[in-house]
């Protein structure tokens, strides 16, 4: 059986894509866990959270029956704290730092606890934040992903009128389009976005792409400041023969279609190879299995010691029955009738450490071949180098160069998130947006108000009032 959709029954799809980190079922269960928390001072969990959520405080607020206070404690640090409770690799962040680990005890289930008040806040539409009266100052944000939304929320709270330009049809960025469906559902992403926007003062112009529908120079004239948070693009090319064959697909595009098209309509191969060992590679591999692929093999040129995904993620792939080839580098793809049929790999061995401290894989000269009908590329995403270049921004390999808090050398232009770091966690993007918002506020206050001007393109209605 080659690449095809509708492999499973609707019940099987539902079962396979069920929430992998189910929430606490009862308040009692929440309280048992919340009361385990030691309420550490200068807590390692908080210090290990890129957004610095005051974890002991929000947990103590749960234990003391102040769920609104708890939700606010989370959201003030991380407006996507609900989504992050589902997608964060907590075992290497907050939960990995929990002091219980040092007692050989199970760490506090921080993510599940965090989900409790944030879910309630979103479901019950608690108005935890109020927007200051409009200052008349306007900021444009490119990209309605975690960095853009986080920045927008902070700015709007301070009375800034924010317009977000988003090239897709939905907001949320990779949270909406790029994460395994069993971690966070599209419905949740929509609710979370709606909750963020319920603050007011934030307008999203969908289907507006920088470099196509709008130009940075125009935005600079139109707005008091611009925040660039357009993320990264598709997977890095493998640059091996046969990459153009049918059946060789991009991991993000694959995940995108799972999230936007509905499970039954997503085509998947019978023998799937996934290249890479990051979170996206795992998300692609496990979901290929869950869509009904018979055999899924992860191919990675280094070893478990160097892999970017967490042990826990790897465990999910293993439990899903994915095979793993360590120390294997794709060398060539061959096909029949234009469709991929085989992946040849070079066996590798680890050499001396490189600049990053990771040992460099070196070819051994030995090869092996896998029969495949689908190859998913997940070896990191490519920055939008051309867009960055043409916008006149300083960059390194397409990643925008910034100073502290997202300041760029172009006055009034700020940047953060994946377009700067090349692709990290949602929580990193949220923090970048938050820090840039503070820098933007400071910048705007130092600038005289600019005269009002109309929309930059009459075809795009401007709802910013």
């Amino acid at each position: 059986m080659a690449i095809t959709n509708h492999r499973l029954t609707s019940e099987a799809y539902e079962e396979n894509f069920r929430d992998i980190h189910p929430p606490f079922e009862t308040r009692d269960a929440v309280l048992v866990e919340a009361n385990r928390c030691l309420f550490c001072y200068d807590a390692p969990c908080t210090k290990s959270c890129p957004t610095g959520i005051d974890v002991p405080k929000f947990i103590s607020q749960i234990a003391a029956d102040d769920l609104r206070g708890s939700a606010r404690t989370i959201f003030i640090a991380n407006i996507m704290g609900g989504g992050c409770s589902r997608v964060c690799p907590v075992e290497k962040l907050c939960e990995g730092a929990c002091v219980y680990n040092l007692m050989e005890e199970t760490p506090i289930s921080i993510a599940r606890l965090q989900r409790y008040p944030t879910d309630q806040a979103i479901q019950r539409k608690w108005p935890l934040f109020t927007r200051k009266p409009s200052t008349g100052r306007r900021v444009a944000i490119i990209g309605a992903g975690p960095a853009g939304l986080s920045c927008a929320h902070v700015l709007s709270r301070e009375g800034i009128d924010v317009t977000i330009y988003e090239k897709e049809e939905k907001g949320g960025g990779l949270m909406t389009y790029g994460v395994a469906a069993y971690k966070v559902t599209p419905e949740y992403c929509a609710e979370e976005l709606h909750y963020i926007l319920s603050l007011g003062g934030i307008t999203i112009q969908y289907g507006s792409e920088l470099g196509k529908d709008l130009q940075l120079e125009q935005l600079r004239l139109q707005y008091d400041a611009v925040f660039l948070a357009f993320g990264v693009g598709l997977a890095r090319r493998l640059d091996i023969p046969g990459e153009e064959l049918e059946g060789v697909v991009d991991a993000l595009r694959f995940i995108y279609s799972i999230r936007s098209d509905g499970f039954p309509s997503v085509p998947v191969g019978d023998k799937v190879a996934v290249i890479g060992m990051g979170m996206t590679a795992i998300d692609a591999a496990t979901q290929a299995r869950r869509l009904g692929a018979g055999e899924v093999t992860l191919v990675y040129r280094r070893t478990a010691a160097e892999m970017p995904c967490t042990e826990k993620e790897l465990e999910i792939a293993r439990l899903d029955g994915c095979h793993i080839h360590w120390l294997a580098a794709p060398e060539a793809l061959t096909g029949a009738d234009g469709c991929v049929t085989q992946l040849r790999c070079q066996k590798m061995e680890l050499g001396p450490p490189d600049a990053s401290g990771r040992r460099t894989p070196q070819p051994t000269g030995e090869t092996f071949t896998l029969d495949v009908d689908m190859v998913i590329k997940a070896t990191g995403q490519m920055p939008f180098e051309e867009l960055v270049q043409q916008s006149g921004l300083r960059h390194r390999n397409g990643k925008i160069d910034i100073g502290p808090d997202g300041i760029t050398p172009l006055s009034g232009i700020f940047a953060g998130g994946d377009c700067v770091n090349g692709g990290k966690e949602v929580v990193d993007a949220v923090q970048a947006g938050k820090l840039s918002a503070a820098a933007i506020l400071e910048y705007i206050q130092s600038q005289p108000p600019r005269p009002a001007v109309g929309p930059i393109d009459p075809s795009i209605p401007d709802h910013t009032v």
Partner: protein, 422 residues
């Protein structure tokens, strides 16, 4: 193996664990099950004046996820017919002759009522009487319970009436709702009461419902002051127990200790401070009679470990070590020490010392783990860090005497030694 056999005023019981006068001891079916489970004795729930009870009756204080750290009740004495109680007491004694059967009494405030009640109870074959001079709620409004115990003169009179009629040992149960239990204890002992038991419950309001604004327990939109018991009251009970053991008059009366006893360790502490038997209620109300197994086994194992053959080997042993503050040695000095191998870097010691003690712990920032070290020169040896540390034996207190000799406050002043400069 150590013997738990107990002789209290000639009343014998196979172990020192008695059930206190309370709902678990108010009827035959409970008491028989308690005896089957292994309890050494019971104090039958107070008999006397006729009463009617309300609904609801209890409320509790929970702490950090743990239920019933303290229990509050507004239940009165037995509301069952006296004759039924007497019949059942007799039957329990017949079925379990080796167990202690004490009956708690609270008659109307006149000599005849007490005499009449005592005669009826003695007819059951009960081994002792416990005078309820402590119930802090409801009955006090009728001049009974704590209303008697709070006034030594009244307590003396009532005890004298009791002693005119009683032929079996009398234990007077003291209320803690006084500035000191000693005056009433003395009055009772001087009037002839052979034993004392303490403490009864402490007047309390456990909380207010934040939706209805009505304190609990809620009885149709109103509440009333109740009596507090359970683990929360143990320290208060131990202190009062000690004052009874240290007073020359009350020290003559053997004590049955009551107040928050939950484990064998609590019981051992009560006994070290003078209790011959202990009475338990809240722990049973929470977990049932089955806890007797752990109580007996734990106490017995500890006695074996310490080389005690019988309970009298250690009853009262800790009493002399509780002394006046002025007799404490000012040259005794300890400092905290953190074991870096055990430390989990929670920072609880640091913030407690920093905000609430003597700023004697230094913090070296790390990511994500800070390192905490004691500044020995600053440490006053208060124990706070050790108390809040979640890891057993991670913080220990190490002796570093300020001088070789014993030095108390009086001597310190006489010698004109300098006070602290910080």
């Amino acid at each position: 193996m150590a013997s738990l056999y107990t002789n209290y005023l000639g009343i014998s019981s196979p172990n020192p664990f008695w059930l206190a006068s309370a709902p678990p001891t108010d009827k035959l079916i409970n008491v028989l099950r308690a005896f089957e489970a292994g309890w050494g004795g019971v104090v039958w729930k107070t008999l006397g004046s006729q009463v009617k009870n309300v609904s609801s009756r209890y409320s509790a204080v929970d702490y950090h996820g743990s239920r019933v750290m303290g229990l509050n009740n507004i239940e009165l004495i037995s509301d069952r017919p006296l004759d039924l109680n007497l019949k059942e007491i007799k039957e329990c004694i017949r079925l379990f002759p080796d167990r202690a059967m004490i009956v708690s009494l609270m008659a109307d405030n006149d000599r005849d009522s007490w005499h009449d009640l005592i005669r009826k109870v003695e007819d059951t074959g009960a081994h002792g009487l416990e005078l309820n001079f402590g119930c802090p709620h409801g009955m006090t409004e009728r001049g009974m319970g704590a209303a008697v115990g709070q006034d030594p003169a009244i307590a003396r009179i009532v005890t004298e009436w009791v002693m005119e009629a009683a032929t079996i040992p009398v234990i007077t149960k003291l209320t803690p709702n006084v500035h000191s239990v000693v005056p009433t204890g003395r009055a009772a002992v001087e009037a002839g009461s052979q034993g004392l038991s303490l403490i009864n419950t402490i007047q309390s309001v456990t909380g207010v419902d934040l939706d209805t604004f009505i304190p609990n327990p809620n009885v149709g939109g109103k509440s009333t002051f109740g009596g507090y018991c359970g683990p929360a009251v143990k320290p208060i009970a131990l202190k009062m127990l000690t004052t009874i053991a240290q007073d020359p008059v009350t020290a003559k009366a053997p004590v049955s200790g009551i107040g928050g006893i939950t484990t064998w360790k609590d019981a051992a502490e009560f006994m070290l401070l003078g209790a011959t038997t202990v009475q338990i209620c809240t722990a049973v109300m929470k977990h049932g009679f089955r806890i007797i197994e752990g109580l007996c086994e734990g106490l017995s194992n500890w006695m074996d470990e310490k080389g005690f053959q019988q309970t009298t080997d250690f009853i009262g042993r800790s009493v002399p070590t509780l002394t006046h503050w002025e007799d404490l040695d000012l040259n005794f000095h300890i400092v905290a020490r953190i074991d870096p191998d055990k430390c989990i870097h929670c920072g609880l010691c640091y913030i407690a010392c920093e905000d609430a003690s003597h700023q004697s712990i230094s913090m070296d920032q790390g990511h994500p783990y800070n390192t905490y070290t004691i500044k020995e020169d600053e440490c006053v040896g208060c124990n706070l860090c050790k108390l809040v540390c979640p890891v057993d034996n991670c913080i220990t207190m190490v002796e570093q005497r300020k001088g070789p000799d014993y030095l108390n406050w009086k001597e310190f002043q006489q010698r004109g030694l300098p006070l602290n400069d910080h």
